[in-house]
Amino acid sequence: MKSYINALTSLLVALAATSAFASPWWSLQESLVFPSGDGRQIRADVLTVDLKAANVRIVSVPFEGGAGVSSSEMSLRAFAAALAASHPRYRSKEWIALNGAFSSFRADVPLGLLVVDGKVYSTLSREKAKPGWASVGIEFGQLRWSGILCQLKSTKAWDIVAAAIYQPGLCQQALQGGPVTVASDSIVAVALNEPRMEKAYKRTMVCLTHENTMRLIVVTQEAHLLPLAQWSSRAVSAGGLGCRVALNLSGDTSSGMVIRSPANAAPRYLGEGSFPIPSALVVEARLPSP
């Protein structure tokens, strides 16, 4: 009887703690929790995008935000404000923006591959992985920035491919990041010693599921990659996110998500998103076919 009451109480607490918002092409689950591995519970906000109904764009923040490389550095928040205020495409519609991958020698210069609408703005980084680095496996363990979020030129389908086997011209849109945290049909691709080897950070991760959805995950507490990968690779029925592949993007103060609805004057911010970023994902409703 006591355990039944405890379970009921936990369920009520969980329901109270998490909240969900939805639209025809996206749904948001806030404050989902997963175990950190050291006895804590980590909170994450997860936005699920229906790829059949939504259009995902990888963008260069300086270019899309109306500035040139090296002329301006924009954080996710500043970028979102620029889109909402004056961008002809995004000024009056609903969209979601997520921070992209890492910076190079300057905060607005991408590190590694960035392909936008078929145009290569930055080429592949072949920096070798450190020994014992997070991503494991033959394909994903070779390079430090081991994965590419790629919309295949041939089928327009989204995938996360290993940077080590990338071929020029493969992707219509591409964003290199790393490490790949979930690979090859829900296998955890993070080394078991990662929590001992690396520091914990606030995280942004993108994942693809078997159900043709993309999950944008913002972890607002400092977390290691291993427990995040373990949780996200688990089936939804087992309390996970059901990711078949997942890629770590830029974290810490870069990490954030913005939801903008024309009904609300101000965009809604999840995560910090205060540090300048070179790239972002922008998601919008897919236009009906003519």
């Binding site: 020698f105 290569v120 703005y121 072949r126």
Partner: protein, 249 residues
Amino acid sequence: MTTPETGSQNTNPPTPAVAHLGLLKQVREVVIGFLPRQLKDVLDKGLFKAFLLLIFVAVLLPPLLAFLAAFWLKQLGTLDNGFAKALRAGVLQMIQEGFSVEEVASRSNARLDYFQPIDVTLAPKLAPSKDLRISIQQRQKAAIDFSSVRFIATDPSCTLPESDGDLFSVSLGGKTVAALKENETSSISIGPNWWADYLKDHDSDDPLQHVSFRVTEQVRAMTCGQIHIDGSIRVFKDILQASPVTLTK
């Protein structure tokens, strides 16, 4: 008190000098009591003076000689006299060769003369080449290190080639030392082999004064993009030997 020698009784008190010697003897006995056994044996055999001489020759004399040599070399250096200068140069050369000063010093890279960062941006049309001012003496050891080479688009309509071709070349004293690709990190050694090769075609004794970066023809043909190069130049104090060099690659 009766002395055994005379058998007579001495009732006079000891003089201050005798008392002082007696005290010194006692102190000496105390000190000897603390000495290691081997040293006590030397003293017991009456070899104390020889021991002191050995200490002087083996321990004190060498640094004293070095000090005196340095002192006189310094004094010679202050004389405005051709003979004194020649003598000083000869002695210094003998010391350097005798003690292999250069050889010992060149075993490490710690003798850095200067360090110059590389932070260069090249653009196909606007800035196809750039020079960095440096000063490297003939046969001076140096290294050019590249930590990051990035080729990026500069406007939204720009698309970069994804081919694996060279982006730019680096030359020193008019001689190309390397051609680098995107994301390539490398270290170019300006050592004996490089100098032997360079001096085949150049007989000037002037120092090298420029490191030049120049985009390749493939990049030159582009209308957009820029190459950002990060790295450093390390110039060492070591002047490499002019004697015959064995080329080993």
